[in-house]
Symmetry: C2
Subunit: 339 residues, 2 copies
DNA sequence: CTGTTAGCGCCTTCAC
DNA sequence: GTGAAGGCGCTAACAG
């Protein structure tokens, strides 16, 4: 009581209270060595009484593990990183690992700065989260801790990257439209420089070929905005009035397209089925009749990243290469009429 | 070279390389004590060569500062916490402080768990971020580190809370509508159990009184969804066709209301001005003509929280009570016609 | 079964 | 100006 400065109980306080030595207290609490059941109980209750929590700093000093993981992201605003982050936090928080969050805000210098900071804090692993599915520069191979890249894969194949399977996503979208009996399908995407735009298109093409169909018109690329969704849909419907379905590479685009469709007197989904991408709930679930969409299981992506890090910390060989994780179709009222 | 296990250089490596003792190396690098300029230079260059970074774990064990701050939130999915988080990260990241992110996901037990974890990691301060403006339970006064509550204020007035000024927000919204010449104004909000719904209404009332106006109909409360925005607007426009403006307590509600207005043949903003709340860009900026909204400056909120924590760490007396931070009006095409 | 001893990496008196 | 010694809280060898 008298000597403690900060009021935080230490292991010696516990040992003293239980009338045993430091070492015995340690063993008792960690289940190591042979300790008499009675002694162990005494130590445990003393620890409980004093609200003792082992100091991770001291522990980490010895074990050369800090029990922390760094999460390096490039934009906190992006709606992709959040579910990933939540998934990772979930998996990590379950144990006694804490997450250092670092937002580089897209600046390479800031990223380097944060990387150094994380390493000097002796994190046990690093998860790098991007907000585009395009490859990003690797942090390098000489990092002394395991690294996993999520959403944005690393450009170095020796790294492990987890990213959603956009090809299958595009395929699923088209297959669903086809299974709804649609035959005259158009495609609207955002900025063509995004792999998300082209990969989904590639998947879509495969599915179209398999169904012996051809896209109506050319893929419409411009920007990832609701505005473009409106404009592109208007252009398409004017030039190809026979269109009976549109695959939009984002939910925002789809929202815009639905708006236009309604305005031009097309009933959704009866006359025109529209499918989005991302399954971004605020948009997809709130859309008038619900928006069918492709969900990338981002939470799962984050969770798996965290688990890989764990395994690597525990000495497992970390695999490498870009892993494409499964996506799933979420059907709502924009492709199938509600009753 | 031979004895190091993990390859990470320690201070003694530096000392050895510089041909001085441990203590001297420490002093040289930290600018303490009197060290000959030549010696200091030698040590510094050795440290640089070896890429030495002091181990924060060891440092934290001794000093009572860890250079870390805990960020305790209740939902990572919520769109309010993110800008706050970004603001805080920004302010903190500028120095050499790192952020521990903890998501309690709304469970009190998880929150307690994370709180203990943070304290045992010897964080220098804690920022508690909520996603509703309603008061939340205080973490208590006996925490040994400074705590700031953001967005959700603490229910204990001895704590420091930073939350947006919803009253002024409601007021600004009405004043803007009035300044646009509107006189027959209605109000749509979400769940009435949210203070956001009632506080904004209170501010709106004050502004209405000041303008010698009365609300058309009663405030419409139900849920914070786009669906409710559509339904509420439809009900209002049917019962009170003379309405010339609607104040919606969220952007989602406003989006729904705009949809309905257009459907019923009302031109926005000519026949009906609509103002939202939150200035949530994906919705507000992408709406067809742009959505006028109230922005709570969440980034600023987070930044200030971080700064308060800093000050408190530096020994400053931390103020207490709930501080309402200013909000601002963002005018777009839903209240003022574009040319 | 329990206690003593020696560090993990760093910083801070205190002598020299 | 410099170095030797002690200790932060904990765990891992050893002895007893």
């Amino acid at each position: 009581m008298s000597k403690r400065k900060s009021g935080v109980p230490t292991l010696s306080d516990v040992a003293e209270a239980a009338g045993v030595s430091l070492a015995t207290a340690s063993k008792a609490l960690n289940g190591r060595g042979d300790v008499a059941a009675a002694t162990r109980a005494r130590v445990e209750s003393a620890a409980f009484e004093l609200r003792f929590t082992p100091n991770p700093l001291a522990r980490g000093l010895l074990a050369s593990r800090s029990g922390t993981v760094g999460l390096l992201t490039n934009d906190l605003e992006g709606r992709f990183v959040l579910p990933i982050l939540a998934g990772a936090e979930d998996a990590l928080g379950a144990g006694s690992v804490n997450v250092f969050l670092c937002d580089a805000q897209g600046y390479a210098v800031r990223e380097q700065h944060h990387l150094r900071a994380l390493l000097s804090r002796r994190v046990d692993g690093i998860i790098v989260v991007g907000s585009r599915t395009d490859a990003r520069r690797s942090l390098g191979q000489e990092l002394s801790v395991p690294v996993v890249y999520v959403y944005s894969p690393s450009d170095d194949d020796r790294d492990l990257s987890l990213t959603p399977d956009n090809l299958t996503g595009g395929q699923l979208a088209i297959e669903h439209l086809v299974s709804c009996g649609r035959k005259r399908i158009a495609y609207i995407a955002g900025d063509q420089s995004y792999r998300a735009a082209t990969d989904r298109w590639e998947g879509a093409q495969a599915a179209l070929r398999a169904a012996d169909l051809e896209l109506v018109g050319a893929p419409m690329y411009s920007e990832w905005s609701e505005h473009w969704g409106r404009d592109a849909a208007a252009t398409l419907l004017e030039r190809y009035p026979e269109i009976d379905a549109i695959f939009c590479a984002s939910d925002q685009l789809a929202r815009g397209a639905i708006d236009t469709a309604r305005e031009l007197g097309r009933r959704v989904p009866e006359d025109l089925a529209i499918i989005g991408y991302d399954n971004w709930l605020p948009l997809a679930a709130n859309s008038r009749q619900g928006l069918t969409s492709i969900d990338a299981n981002l939470g799962e992506l984050g969770k798996q990243a965290a688990e890989r890090i764990f395994q690597a910390i525990d000495g497992a060989e970390i695999p490498h290469g870009v892993h494409h994780l499964p996506v799933r179709l979420v059907i709502r009222g924009s492709t199938i009429a509600r009753r």
